[in-house]
Symmetry: C2
DNA sequence: CTGTTAGCGCGTTCAG
DNA sequence: CTGAACGCGCTAACAG
């Protein structure tokens, strides 16, 4: 049987209230503190967080919903966030929505039912209606990597990220540049495509032809097919920007299957580890993923402590451009 | 304010016991069921799992401790396990031990304090003493990818996995084969090295020279350095087996930096996605990672339901060999 | 089948 | 600073 306050009372003769105070930072006399500590170690006592949560209406857990778990971006987010939250005493319950909106709504309800104190989400798309159960119960929500109106968000400056890539490429003399990006249904892709269009117009004075920025499936396969399509155009691009990590992978696979002569310059996204594996070594738009995670964690903790403004907060971080070899 | 049984009682006139029975699968008369259902939707009622857990002594969460989160192996494990456990109503709290034994002991205590109903762990090393707090409180533990005496374990047949690789290579005429593996401090590496030694002796009649199987740091860098070392030997191997995914990556990076002529045959581990990216396309020992996760989840659920034998259970799964190109 | 009565382990009033 | 008493929301005996 697991020890409770009652067992400590039996050993120390103190009352439950005093013991409770000891564990909650109240003032307890020195001798009594020692009594409690001795009893606790003797009994191998451990606070019961469930009972505690019942009274204090806090489960000391936060829920994290990811659109996929098999991505280095999300893995880093979870790892860093979990570390920070645990430091603050919170457990992290993760759920994978598998990029499925219905599953996402399900797991949100699941988490709300689990009485999580807050929810962090990398959402499937821009639809925020699935958050209703959380809002109804005043469970704070923080979105990562998506700007969601009325919700705290931690994002990167997608337009600036793409613009930095375009600047590098135009500076190197490229005038026909292709983009591998997904459909405009998610904030991230919409911003990156818009950033591409604006930056190209800015630097060349012309809007990019639409065939240079046709939406692809958001997947490695999409990047693969997209790159091949771009190179088959009558006026193919001499440089290609990949709007995320999967596209970068897919495009690289396609390049590897082609003759070396026909390689366009490539600018990819994320994952430094990979850069060493790939020929040609791509230039990479590098997101501050760990910082993103930490900002999100801090935002959660701030909301949980009741601090922070009434309106929703948006934190925007900048990317850096890591220039590769053979690619510009 | 969130609704409780009392609110439902007020709306229906029924007693708390009846409402409880309704939510716990007891027999409740049709009209009463409807009354409760109507009240519940009107009040937007949701069961309070914390209160429930206090009575029933189950938090309906399981803790998962990973030695690292940034590995496709562990990511797949978590993703599949989480899915299955959620299906059964359990939340999954993850913790990253970052391959640090002390951190591992800390998070275990953290999870026990969070009243998790069971713990799944991919342990840092073979030392099981850190599990004591869980054992003391009768929290079932399942180890994944490590054989731990006295603990339920789900593992793969590491010796057979390596043997299948050696068989392929010797069949292709290789007689001098190198191994990239870590030190013998973890079960997995110990088994794979032993499997290598035995299989080579089996097929060639000779024990492999120790310089062909020197331990390397378990990392991409270790694989990189190890492959270069092997190729600089006076009698370098004509084929190399990589004992895990990181070594496979590192070795491939090293190969890419060398001239094509000097490539030995390579057999790697895991990650099919990667295979398409790499030249030469390696032969891969493929672990049934999803099956591993599902077996672990089922084992947990079985223990949670009180079933299963008194002794600890070991489940062993087989790997398959995915033969690549240009590599044998 | 339903209602009544006790708690689960802890935090929080209030007196003292 | 300490103790007694109550209740958080729910489940588990019992009666009826």
């Amino acid at each position: 049987m697991v020890a409770t306050y009652k067992d400590i009372r039996r050993m120390t003769g103190l009352s439950l209230a005093t013991i409770s105070k000891y564990y909650n930072g109240g003032n307890v006399l020195g001798p009594n503190r020692e009594l409690i500590e001795k009893a606790a170690t003797a009994l191998d006592y451990q606070l019961n967080n469930v009972a505690r949560g019942l009274r204090s209406r806090r489960s000391m857990t936060v829920g994290v919903i990811l659109d996929e778990l098999d991505s280095s971006f999300n893995t880093t987010i979870v790892s860093r966030m979990e570390e920070r939250l645990r430091e603050a005493g919170y457990g992290t319950i993760i759920c994978d929505s598998r990029k499925d909106a219905e599953a996402q709504a399900d797991v949100l309800r699941f988490l709300v039912g689990k009485m999580v104190d807050a929810i962090v989400v990398v959402p499937v798309d821009d639809d925020t209606s699935f958050l209703a159960p959380a809002r109804d119960r005043d469970v704070p929500v923080v979105a990562v990597d998506r700007l969601m109106p009325g919700t705290d968000s931690v994002i990167i400056d997608n337009r600036a990220a793409i613009a930095s890539a375009i600047q590098l490429l135009t500076h190197a003399g490229h005038t026909t540049i292709g983009l591998l990006a997904g459909p405009d249904t998610t904030y991230t892709m919409r911003e990156r495509r818009a950033g591409f269009r604006d930056a190209v117009q800015d630097r060349t004075g012309l809007l990019p032809r639409s065939e240079l920025m046709t939406p692809e499936d958001v997947s490695i396969e999409g990047g693969y097919a997209g790159l091949r399509r771009l190179l088959r155009l009558s006026a193919p691009p001499t440089a290609v920007v990949c709007a995320n990590y999967g596209f970068t992978l897919g495009a690289t696979i396609a390049l590897n299957e082609l003759g070396q002569e026909s390689w366009p310059a490539l600018v990819g996204f994320d994952n430094l580890e990979l850069a060493r594996l790939i020929r040609p070594r791509p230039t990479l738009v590098t997101q501050p993923i760990e910082a993103l995670a930490l900002e999100a964690a801090e935002l959660v903790l701030q909301r949980l402590s009741g601090a922070g403004p009434d309106e929703s907060v948006t934190i925007t971080l900048e990317t850096t451009l890591l220039v590769g070899h053979e690619s510009t």
